[in-house]
């Protein structure tokens, strides 16, 4: 669309707009990129006051942990192809191989396989090849950029962060599946019923959405700790202590997430024409059949988007998991406080940074793959009012 000359923006406005945008992009990405850079250096470099020391890592380099020009080029090439594979062949493979209706699940499996494969090539295979090349090429092969992955090894292998990772995965997967199953049914009914009852449920959900989570946890905590005693008359000897159980945390997070889920899914279902299920009803379907055979095939975009936000809630939660799980059995986010509260040495701090980057990396992948869905999710509730 060409703009008439009279309406063209003056240069100053264009410059201001572009300048502001550049500034914002730097501001948005910088803290995250910076901690990623920190985590690969020796502590003295990581917390150096001179930014160039942090980037180039002279101390790390002096200890013989560094990358040569060859390493950097090879690393960048692998990264580039990894991204190409992720948006090209991986996407096609996932879409072809997964049966219809399980696309989100297919993506989870696909992303996990991709991440593991990437790690094996990048951390296991690439160093072997480049060390061989470095030996051959002499001056080109001398390290020029300080870098070490020892903090990641310390976090994941020595400190057992993988156990926290597994806990996070269990909680997150549970929250997402249960939230969606329960929420989809409710969201559909609320979108189709215009009754006062439906509206009261929605308003109640809105109020529940506003409740600080600590208020709710204050209600659970005494009950969960004493649940073995409380449930004993019903279940006898087998009454479980709910405190410290991932299952209990999943139930709590699903409930906390429910108000948001039903509002969001309701707005997606409102965009599916009601004529569809009316036609199915005319053909003799019950409401459940109409839902199963007419609505379910077309609801996946909305469900995937809502699922992303449920995933984020479970993955990012600190408050509920830190209070309801005991310290030995934490998910990733509360576990990290153990590092920065300890802070006895700067090495601990850099390990905390490495743990933080490890937690952020999956989210980074998530935005990369699902950018469109996240944007549509953010606007779904809003545009309808």
């Amino acid at each position: 669309m060409s703009v008439p000359k009279a309406l063209a923006q003056p240069l100053s406005l264009k410059l201001a707009s572009a300048g502001f945008l550049t500034f914002w992009c730097v501001l948005a990405a910088f803290p995250i990129l910076w901690i990623a850079v920190l985590s690969f250096k020796e502590p003295i470099d990581s917390f150096s006051a001179n930014p160039f020391n942090v980037i180039f890592g002279p101390v790390t380099l002096a200890k013989g942990k560094g990358l040569s020009a060859i390493d950097i080029i090879a690393g960048l090439a692998v990264l580039y192809y990894a991204v190409r594979v992720a948006v090209g062949p991986l996407k096609r493979a996932v879409e072809q191989l997964t049966p219809k209706g399980f696309l989100a699940f297919g993506w989870l499996v696909g992303a996990a396989i991709f991440a593991i494969g990437f790690l094996i090539i990048f951390v296991g295979f690439l160093p072997l090849v480049t060390s061989f090349l470095n030996g051959l090429l002499g001056p080109l092969g001398t390290p020029i950029l300080g870098m070490t992955i020892e903090h990641y090894q310390a976090v994941w292998i020595d400190n057992g962060f993988s156990r926290n990772f597994m806990n996070s995965m269990i909680v997150t997967a549970g929250v997402t599946t249960v939230s969606l199953t329960v929420g989809t049914l409710a969201g559909y009914a609320l979108a189709r019923a215009g009754t006062m009852l439906a509206f009261s449920i929605l308003i109640a959900a809105l109020i529940f959405r506003a409740l600080p989570h600590s208020v709710l946890v204050a209600g659970y905590l005494p009950v969960f700790i004493n649940s073995a005693e409380i449930l004993a008359p019903l279940l006898g000897e087998n009454a479980p202590t709910l405190y410290g159980q991932p299952v209990a945390v999943i139930a709590v997070l699903v409930a906390i997430n429910q108000p948001f889920t039903i509002w969001m899914l309701r707005s997606f279902f409102q965009n599916i024409p009601a004529e569809l299920d009316e036609a199915a009803r005319v053909d003799g379907c019950t409401h459940f059949q109409a839902f199963r055979w007419v609505i379910m095939p077309v609801m996946w975009p909305g469900v995937i988007t809502t699922g992303l936000f449920s995933f984020l809630l479970g993955y990012n939660d600190f408050l509920v998991t830190s209070l309801l799980l005991d310290a030995q059995n934490q998910t990733m986010v509360p576990a990290i406080t153990g590092y920065f509260n300890r802070e006895t040495t700067t090495t601990d701090q850099v390990e905390a940074v490495a743990a933080a980057v490890s937690i952020t990396a999956p989210l980074f992948l998530l935005v990369m793959i699902f950018q469109r869905q996240i944007v549509s999710g953010l606007t779904a509730g809003a545009v309808k009012g």
């Binding site: 707009s17 572009a18 803290p31 308003i203 204050a218 950018q371 953010l378 809003a382």
Partner: protein, 341 residues
């Protein structure tokens, strides 16, 4: 859809919300009026120590915890009325401080300190988030098509990041001689310690929150900008409206529902401020209402949790959010009656 089918569809969700939100709320209300303590008894104990001339004995009255037959500590729950609320609010101390006219002493009290921070935090970040979000949306709308995708990707990063980690990322830029502290020191040519006093930490928290939420406002506003009626813009141009007037009288009124939506969500979330306190480890200087409850709920050194006081502070927090949201809820109600949603 008849009532029975509706109930079948909505049932699981409503049951979950009742079981895990409504009932816990009732528990919290009850707990806030009760205190559960270990039962103790006073016993006379005679203690003897061997001395030079003979035994030295003294009798003392000690409190001792009582145990039931199975060896578990006995506990009793008793009704204490508004006692726990009073312990949280510390009304006498607050009153005394106010009578002296000492705001500083008043804000030393945990609850009022938390309330002060939570409210200023919510109210200061609100216009900043809306303003920054709108600016980014306008700037992105102005950019060429090709770079819009990457810019939205970068913008989503602060929003998607785990809040505690986001706060930590900002903290690591400043802590000790972190590069931004070093930059400030170089600029001011003097030493600064950003984690030594409350107000600098508070500034960093405000910055973090705006950084974290502005992308959300941006995405919503950007979507809104796509639906601005071009004919209205055109007629405004013909009527001689300047760029600013077009923004002020055409675009912003069009986006008003979105502004209300973002404001509503942001009020709810900022009032729950909590992760900042953890990420910046600021509990010595600054606490929020939700952190106060969290702190009561955590087990102290002897493994006790002040459930009663936590419940009282939770109830007070809840009253606050209801008051804050009441005008917006009333508007939603009116809109629904008018058939707008």
């Amino acid at each position: 859809m008849n009532k029975k089918t509706f109930a079948a569809f909505v049932g699981p969700s409503v049951v979950m919300m009742i079981l895990f939100i409504a009932i816990p709320l009732i528990f919290v209300l009850i707990q806030s009026f009760q205190v559960t303590q270990p039962v103790t008894e006073l016993v006379e104990v005679e203690k003897c120590t061997p001395g030079f001339t003979g035994q030295i004995c003294e009798t003392k009255i000690e409190t001792r915890q009582m145990f039931d037959d199975a060896g578990n500590p006995l506990r009793q729950t008793k009704f204490v009325g508004f006692d726990s609320y009073n312990k949280v609010l510390e009304l006498q101390r607050a009153g005394a401080a106010l009578a002296e006219g000492s705001i500083k002493a008043f804000l030393q009290i945990d609850f009022w300190k938390a309330l002060r921070f939570t409210l200023t935090f919510t109210l200061i970040t609100l216009p900043l988030v809306l303003g920054v979000g709108l600016l980014i949306a306008l700037a992105v709308n102005n950019a060429t098509q090709r770079i819009k995708g990457p810019i939205i990707f970068i913008s989503l990063l602060p929003f998607i990041i785990t809040p505690v980690i986001g706060a930590l990322a900002i903290r690591w830029l400043f802590i000790g001689d972190g590069i931004l502290t070093a930059a400030i020191e170089w600029y001011l040519a003097r030493d600064v310690a950003l984690f030594a006093q409350g107000w600098t930490i508070e500034l960093m928290m405000l910055f973090y929150r705006v950084w974290h939420v502005a992308p959300f406002a941006f995405v919503v506003f950007y979507a809104g900008l796509q639906t601005v009626n071009q004919d209205t813009i055109e007629s405004a141009i013909i009527d001689g409206a300047s760029r600013f007037e077009r923004l002020r009288y055409v675009i912003i009124p069009h986006m008003m529902p979105l502004v209300v939506f973002v404001a509503l969500i942001h009020l709810m979330d900022a009032y729950r401020a909590f992760e900042e306190i953890v990420g910046f480890s600021s509990q010595a200087h600054i606490i929020s209402l939700q952190w106060l409850t969290y702190d009561f709920l955590q087990a102290d050194d002897s493994g006790n949790r002040s459930i009663s006081r936590a419940s009282a502070s939770a109830m007070l927090t809840m009253i606050g959010i209801v008051l804050l949201l009441f005008p917006l809820l009333r508007k939603t109600w009116q809109d629904y009656r008018g058939g707008k949603i």
